[in-house]
């Protein structure tokens, strides 16, 4: 296995980490105005992700940095190609980050309500856009022989990508609801449970629809032939089992299975791309691959050593923070304002 493949795998791992962790952050943010019936409930809900959301977001920055360092042409083509979509995502990320810090620093209820809805918007927009982006990546984009994106913003809004967006939106929202069932108590816990059960069926249906649609719109699953391989099947079995575990009130298991759904869906998409990183719909020969888009072996080698040392350290201390804040949060908890 060469360094290019290792770095493709590492980028996939960073996205899995990001979607798994930030996925429930987005979900919690989306559900905040609906499950938080009063200010106290909203503070409880924010506190479930309060110590973590910022660290979770760094997974995206690291993934972005890793793409830049390991596959500069991928970074250049994708970021300049998804221009307006990324701008929208950045606006959402900015206002969301600010809202978490600002909302409780003033007692005025209008002030807090405004920031809470900004948290909703700032979580909902990226949750949707990630699915749109991934769907477009595997569907292919107009890219010319100089690795330059030649489409516009509305090329990205095709029906297939929109189904992908709805799927990621629903999956992250469900993920957030299940996360809340593990972190809250009493009335908030009950409404989180009910929400998770309600969200499961539409999430599963849209995910299935996306898989079927992928057969038609992309070469990703067609590449597998009749046997799609074990990875997408695990993802589908996992989302089915989430429904079962929610029904029998085993939320811990539901959360684990949700994690597996997200991880294996991400792997399915990235393994469908492999060895390409951006598919050119103009001419298959103009696609960006892990070889023609990559950095030199020297750079990949340096980055491998750095990643080998520091990724495990990050995993250890981030896991530790979840251990420190492992207790459920109730209305009676000492809340951070």
């Amino acid at each position: 296995m060469d360094l290019n493949i290792i770095w493709f795998i590492l980028v996939t791992v960073l996205f899995i980490g990001f979607f798994f962790l930030e996925g429930f952050d987005y979900g919690v943010g989306i559900l905040l105005p609906f499950l938080g019936k009063d200010d106290k409930a909203r503070r409880v809900i924010i506190n479930t992700i309060g110590p973590h959301w910022d660290g979770n977001e760094v997974w995206l920055l690291t993934a972005g940095g890793a793409i830049f360092a390991a596959f500069p042409h991928w970074y250049a083509t994708m970021f300049s190609g998804f221009y307006l979509a990324l701008f929208l995502m950045l606006v959402a990320i900015i206002v969301r980050a600010v809202s978490f810090e600002f909302r409780s620093k003033d007692e005025n209820s209008k002030w807090r309500n405004t920031w809470d809805w900004i948290i909703f918007f700032g979580s909902a927009v990226p949750a949707l856009l990630w699915g749109v982006a991934l769907a477009n990546l595997i569907r292919g984009l107009p890219i010319d022989e100089t690795m330059t994106y030649t489409g516009g913003f509305f090329n990205l809004l095709n029906p297939y990508a929109i189904v992908g967006g709805v799927a990621s939106f629903l999956l992250f929202t469900l993920h957030g609801a299940i996360f809340l069932t593990l972190k809250t108590t009493d009335d908030i816990l009950e409404s989180a449970k009910a929400t998770a059960r309600k969200l499961w069926l539409p999430s599963t249906i849209v995910l299935l629809l996306f898989v079927v649609y992928s057969y038609i719109e992309t070469d990703v699953i067609a590449g597998f032939g009749i046997n799609p391989g074990v990875v997408p099947i695990v993802a589908l079995l996992a989302i089915l089992s989430v429904g079962y575990f929610l029904k029998v009130k085993r939320e811990g298991w539901a959360f684990i299975m949700m994690g597996i759904t997200i991880a294996f869906s991400t792997i399915s998409i990235f393994s469908g791309l492999f060895p390409r990183v951006m598919v050119s719909s103009t001419n298959p020969d103009w696609s960006l691959t892990i070889y023609n888009a990559s950095s030199s072996d020297y750079t990949l080698g340096v980055m491998s050593i750095v990643a080998l040392i520091f990724v495990p350290i990050v995993l250890i201390y981030q896991s530790w923070t979840y251990w420190v804040f492992r207790k459920r949060i109730s209305r009676k908890s000492e809340l951070e304002y």
């Binding site: 760094v58 900015i94 980050a97 030199s296 750079t299 923070t321």
Partner: protein
């Protein structure tokens, strides 16, 4: 305007705005770590109150600093994709390492610190804020390693029209990094000192018996004097380094049209940029040679001579950066820095010799003085980036080759307006919260304390 001009405006606006907040993060995390160390060592509740109050002020800043920083990482790909292709092999590495080593550390332990007052022992909680301080300043090192490559490329070779890394350690040990980083580090300390000073004097003016703000004021005076002295000393070695590796930037900073030996330093010049000559100039003979070499003779190259030299080396073209902007931003930076030092000296005298019996004039000076570090920070960066023009990577890659090919002028205009409006709007709640806490003083922590029983 074309895509290039718009992308440059966007970079300038978003970077200057982002860098309003970054120095405060660098300096504040360290200040909080020092204050909390005092609290843990002495057990004095006064220090805990300081940590809580300034911590709140800092968090308002941190949120917006982090959020606007994400735009910085993304816009290299969005607006400068051709630059990213050319330099990604090298430039992407410090950016990725910055996220992996610094951002994770900073964000994760900040979460622990904010929410962990009751969950962790005092010492663990203290360790958390130290890790945040280390993380944020580490991030400054890595981003400046990236920027230093643009000012003085090292450890690379050119393959198929792009720069590839040949020596990672050459990047880390680049002389440019180790004059630039300390300059930024101490600028962060100085900026934070002024912020603390201004809020403290506002509180002390209302009620002179507040122990918390007297201690904060004294802390800020010492912090700021150390900061400004080191900014100046390192700034001097930076200038000497610049004469060696970017002589054109130095020549532009001084509006030095012709090489001189000994070289005189401009006190005040009105020049004609197109004719490349002085209209009116007041100069100190030999002073520029002294700045460059610590002795009163030695040649400093002029703009016209360097232009001729570069035409031979790089082919025809204009290699002169905007002289008026370089000249004035350089002077504003140095002037604001010097003014800060003198304000701090008066502050020292007020605190230590006059026991806080300050005059209304000094009070007013400080309320305006808080703008000085922000002026110095912004003009310093405008100078260092403008003085490098027309290059994005000095001597290797030009700005007009750097811009994205996939974007249209309309798109870049749209996002530039978008960021400007959004950033403008975000200043309103930021300033509102800062002002509110500054007025309320230690009372602002009441909500916090009702939720946290003292240990």
């Amino acid at each position: 305007m074309d895509v290039l001009a718009l992308a440059r405006w966007q970079f300038a606006i978003t970077t200057v705005y982002h860098f309003l907040f970054v120095p405060l993060t660098l300096g504040f995390t360290l200040a909080l770590a020092l204050m909390e160390t005092q609290y843990v060592r002495t057990g004095d509740e006064k220090y805990k109150k300081m940590v809580l109050f300034w911590g709140k002020m800092f968090l308002v800043n941190f949120a917006i600093g982090v959020a606007t920083g994400i735009v910085q990482e993304f816009q290299f790909g969005m607006n400068w994709s051709e630059y990213s292709r050319f330099v990604g092999d090298i430039f992407g590495v410090p950016l990725a390492i910055e996220a992996l080593l610094a951002f994770f550390l900073e964000s994760t332990f900040l979460g622990i610190w904010i929410f962990g007052w009751e969950k962790l022992s005092k010492k663990m909680h203290l360790a958390a804020i130290w890790l945040v301080a280390i993380g944020s300043n580490l991030s400054a090192i890595w981003i400046l390693i990236a920027n230093s490559f643009m000012q003085q490329p090292v450890g690379y070779h050119l393959v198929n029209g792009r720069a590839e890394m040949t020596d990672f350690f050459a990047l880390l040990t680049s002389g440019h990094v180790w004059v630039q980083f300390p300059h930024v580090f101490f600028a962060g300390i100085s900026t934070t000192a002024f912020f603390i000073l201004t809020v403290s004097i506002y509180q002390l003016n209302k009620n002179k018996n507040q122990e918390v703000f007297k201690s904060s004021f004294k802390f800020a005076i010492v912090y700021g004097i150390i900061g400004t002295i080191f900014v100046a000393i390192i700034g001097h070695s930076q200038a000497q380094y610049m004469v060696k590796v970017q002589p054109m930037k130095m020549a532009a900073a001084e509006a030095l049209w012709e090489s001189e030996n000994p070289a005189s330093m401009s006190l005040f010049t009105i020049g004609d940029e197109t004719k490349r000559e002085d209209v009116f100039a007041l100069k100190i003979p030999g002073a520029l040679s002294f700045l460059a070499y610590n002795k009163f003779d030695g040649e400093v190259k002029g703009i016209k001579n360097l232009q001729a030299e570069y035409e031979v080396k790089y082919g025809p073209g204009n290699y002169v950066p905007p002289v008026a902007i370089s000249y004035w931003t350089f002077r504003m930076m140095v002037g604001a820095g010097a003014a800060m030092f003198f304000v701090l000296l008066i502050g020292w005298w007020v605190a230590y010799k006059k026991n806080f019996d300050f005059s209304p004039i000094f009070y007013k000076i400080l309320l305006f003085g808080v703008s000085l570090p922000f002026i110095a920070n912004a003009t310093g960066w405008i100078f260092t980036e403008m003085g490098r023009q027309p290059w994005t990577v000095f001597g290797l890659f030009r700005i007009e080759d750097s811009v994205s090919k996939a974007t249209t002028a309309g798109e870049v205009l749209f996002t530039t307006i978008g960021y400007t409006v959004l950033y403008g709007i975000l200043l309103i709640p930021t300033v509102y919260l800062w002002r509110k806490f500054a007025i309320k003083g230690v009372d602002a922590m009441n909500i916090h304390e009702s939720n946290h029983s003292e240990n």
